[in-house]
Symmetry: C2
Subunit: 194 residues, 2 copies
Amino acid sequence: MTALDERQPPRRQRSGAGATVWLTGLPSAGKTTLATALAARLRADGVTGVELLDGDEVREFLSKGLGFSREDRDTNVLRIGWVAATLAKHGVLVLASVISPYADTRAGVRALHEERGAGFVEIHVATPVEVCSERDVKGLYAKQRSGELSGLTGVDAPYEPPAHPAAVVRTQDQTLDESVDQLHAVLVAHGLLP
Amino acid sequence: MTALDERQPPRRQRSGAGATVWLTGLPSAGKTTLATALAARLRADGVTGVELLDGDEVREFLSKGLGFSREDRDTNVLRIGWVAATLAKHGVLVLASVISPYADTRAGVRALHEERGAGFVEIHVATPVEVCSERDVKGLYAKQRSGELSGLTGVDAPYEPPAHPAAVVRTQDQTLDESVDQLHAVLVAHGLLP
């Protein structure tokens, strides 16, 4: 027989303050990898009340039907931002990975959080385009080179880096564990983790 | 000088269990009026962790660009349902007013909640079409009559009433206060209110 506390981590209830950790950066910069690894670390630590807004579910439920025009991109970013802010308002720690290339649209997302008394921590996953293009997780850079696709952020569409991010993560210079450590420390410094 | 507890209601923290109260019914059935009045009652009672998913914000952030085809309606209903389920998973009591005419789409929303261990309470705001058409809050019934609009739920587009709703609210037979009392009692019976 194993005692309960040997099998499960203690549940560490975060305080009531909700916030969104907004990971912005180029395609294949490592935003999703980083958010997923941080979520796993928090889960292993028994931290509850964390939500990952990213990937297939967001594409299926929130982004369906949207394309890559400036207007559609903005709609998508603000929509994810609105969902994040609504969750954060209720005390959830949201990890959102969104390319979100335009500074003023990200400012709009920040404003949605401020209006709701929720925190907003902007993280620049600043992997250079050369490294992203080599990783090319979804084959987008290859498609752009072959002419199958245009409007790729950072190549033939703009990316406006954050002027004052809470952290700049250089995934090309450190291991994933080190990037998770860096992000974890930022959240602790912002009072978002117990 | 007024003591704090005379000016503010005591905060009544709901238990950790989140759920969505899903109000379905025809246009002008009174779904929004009812959800708003219930939210006000809960606020007055000091109940925290309640979110109204309804109206302008949902239209601006979630439903933008969607029309009235069966596919677009389903996308809209499932999108609102997904947001509701994600909030409810984190303990929020969500009040969602959505026409949601199709039974199997509502079943899809219920499934999203069950997958997340969140409650789902379906309420049929069952105001008859004659009464809705007379109220015509947004002028939709008049537009349908004049031919400006087609595909109006309950008139020339289907509405499939819930087979087993947690409650049927007959707004034509009782006051708003009585409808709020009815809904409040259902939530207490489901263990969703302290």
